[in-house]
């Protein structure tokens, strides 16, 4: 998987993970992938809601050791 941009939102609380994701999406082109890593458990529902609302696609998501990882495709 060709990740264009990695965003580390670890240690940040709501709403910063989705703000960082919004910031990141502005720097990549349609079709490109961005990975976001967060530690805020709320980011699991938030990232899905954000992707659904903005039209970007959440293509992959997993969690390990208190970290939540999301891969999103720019619409």
């Amino acid at each position: 998987m060709d990740i264009k941009l990695k965003v580390d939102a670890s240690g940040l609380s709501c709403p910063l993970p989705i703000l960082r994701a919004t910031q990141g999406m502005k720097t990549i082109a349609p079709g490109e992938l961005m990975e976001v890593v967060a530690t805020d458990p709320g980011s699991v529902k938030d990232m899905a809601a954000w992707a659904g609302s903005t039209g970007h696609t959440l293509v992959e998501q997993d969690s390990a050791n208190g970290k939540f990882r999301f891969v999103l495709r720019h619409k």
Binding site: G11, P15, K26, W50
Partner: protein, 137 residues
């Protein structure tokens, strides 16, 4: 999802300012236009001289609440001002001062932090809110 979210920010303690900033930033990230209407103590908190001072917490915070909020700040949690600045950079966030409150405090727009975009009355606020949701804090 582009219906406007309008936030009437009446309160001026740091916890309620943070609540408003969080709601504004979240809506901006979702691509919704955000309007913030500053009244009374909310407006008072946006004075250029003193915007970054301690605005205290709502009375229900008590000692335990204050300790928790202080610990979060020490751990590097973004302030309401930083959160609002980021929201303005990322999305469409317009902050207007209530003209009646400006009058009460004898303020001019030049007395306010540049985060504030202008001054308007309640009719303009309602017209700009349109059919979108209005939140009062």
């Amino acid at each position: 999802m582009d219906e406007t979210i309008s936030i009437v920010l009446f309160s001026g303690t740091d916890d309620k300012l943070m609540s408003a900033a969080t709601l504004a930033a979240g809506a901006a990230a979702l691509g919704k236009p955000v309007k913030i209407f500053l009244q009374y103590w909310g407006l008072n908190a946006f004075r250029a001289a003193g915007i970054d001072t301690d605005h205290g917490l709502a009375p229900e915070a008590g000692e335990v609440g204050k300790a928790a909020v202080d610990a979060a700040a020490r751990a590097g949690m973004a302030t309401w001002m930083q959160t609002l600045r980021m929201a303005k950079e990322l999305g469409e966030v317009d902050i207007q001062a209530c003209s009646a409150s400006m009058d009460i405090f004898k303020l001019k727009q030049s007395d306010l932090d540049p985060l504030v975009d202008g001054v308007e009355g309640v009719a303009a606020f309602y017209i700009n809110a349109g059919e979108g949701q209005i939140v009062f804090i």
